[in-house]
């Protein structure tokens, strides 16, 4: 096929495409000017309509045959990149240098949060210089609450659970645990698609 630019039919495709790109309907006079213009617009619209359906896939549309593929992604993740800062821990021996990673603390926060019924923990940020023992630290956590749960009560239970876990397992000087409820999610019903 010849795609040379001196074909006058090329120009009309460009002109019409520009209108469509801008989300503007091409002027009626332009379309009615010639049958070619009319056909060009129809063909262009057909291509666009088909384009929209090109990646129509169901959310979560992976099949059971994809389990191996998912596994291979998960096993290839670089886990160490999430370690974050090193948080000092005291030890009776002055020669021992004991640290806890920031990632481990976040994991602790997540586990504590997930143990609270009706709540899912999202991002967790340790605000403060955790690398210096005794520096004040504010823990900021995002969370989602099941639809129907009273939000203030759920947020408070979450706050208490996180603060308790941090006091028990770390030496961080926790100044505050700030919980932000960013989402409400629906509780999974039994008959919905089960993933195993």
């Amino acid at each position: 096929m010849n795609a040379a630019n001196d074909d006058p039919a090329d120009d009309i495709v460009d002109v019409l495409s520009d209108y469509l790109d801008r989300g503007v309907e091409p002027p009626r006079e332009l379309i009615e000017q010639s049958p070619e213009n009319h056909l060009a617009l129809a063909a262009l619209l057909r291509v666009r309509e088909a384009a929209r359906s090109l990646i129509d896939v169901d959310e979560g549309g992976l099949s059971t045959g994809d389990e191996g593929w998912i596994d291979s992604i998960l096993t290839n993740l670089h886990r160490e990149v999430k370690a974050g800062r090193a948080i000092p821990l005291t030890h009776p021996s002055p020669r021992a240098n004991l640290t806890l990673t920031e990632g481990a603390v976040r994991g602790l926060v997540r586990a504590a949060g997930d143990s609270v019924d009706g709540v899912l923990v999202g991002r967790c940020v340790l605000d403060g210089d955790v690398t210096v023992a005794g520096s004040p630290v504010v823990v900021r956590v995002e969370a989602s609450v099941f639809w129907g749960e009273p939000i203030p009560a759920a947020a408070e239970r979450l706050r208490v659970a996180i603060a308790g876990a941090l006091i028990q397992h770390t030496e961080l000087a926790i100044e505050a645990v700030d919980v932000t409820i960013t989402d409400v999610h629906l509780r999974r019903t039994d008959d919905e698609g089960q993933q195993s």
């Binding site: 795609a3 460009d14 495409s17 979560g60 992976l62 994809d66 999202g122 995002e142 999610h185």
Partner: protein, 188 residues
């Protein structure tokens, strides 16, 4: 909470919650993101690449990069479009490699014979005929067209991704549109 229970309750979580967990190192949260968006990413990668070859690799690579870079993502709720950008970039990279990193101007040769799909007895829909027509487009034209019409990228974004001036993008897109229109007419 058992692992399976955790995964099924996470399946109800928003993208923002899951992206936040994954940014903090939660593999289960990341797994739910893969299950939720993996199929879309594969479908998009197949359109950019022009076939299903390399799709699994490219999307896998995109997820591994996403895992590393998630802590830098500012708007966690936009993780889906962010993932689409990463997979787009990885797919374009793959095509660059196929062309031995030659400049994009040289990608515009006709699709080699071996890449032409076997014609099935008939195409069933407009979508089928478009897929077939796309597979026959030269890489540079197909990439521009898919990024614009399927990925929703702007001229400037495409130009930045491909490293060519917007005028080149315009030209490639114009040629792609004409070819696709003609091919689709023939299959009608």
């Amino acid at each position: 909470m058992a692992d399976v229970d955790r995964l099924s309750s996470l399946a109800e979580a928003s993208d923002r919650i899951l992206a936040g967990r994954a940014a903090d190192g939660d593999v289960r949260g990341f797994e739910v993101l893969i299950r939720r968006h993996g199929a879309l990413m594969r479908a998009y990668a197949a359109r950019i690449l022009g076939s299903n070859a390399d799709v699994d690799d490219v999307v896998q690579d995109a997820f591994i990069t996403a895992w590393d870079k998630l802590p830098e993502l500012e708007d966690l709720s936009a993780v889906k479009s962010w993932l689409m950008r990463i997979v787009n970039h990885k797919a374009i990279d793959r095509i660059r490699a196929r062309h031995d990193h030659a400049p994009i101007e040289d990608w515009d040769d006709p699709a080699p014979e071996r890449e032409q799909p076997e014609r099935q007895a008939e195409t069933h829909s407009q979508q089928d005929s478009l897929v077939r027509a796309l597979e026959l487009l030269p890489d540079a034209q197909r990439n521009c067209w898919v990024m614009k019409e399927v990925g929703g990228f702007s001229y400037d974004e495409i130009s930045a991704e491909l490293g060519v001036p917007p005028s080149t993008v315009r030209g490639l897109l114009a040629r792609a549109r004409r070819r696709l229109m003609t091919e689709m007419e023939e299959w009608r």
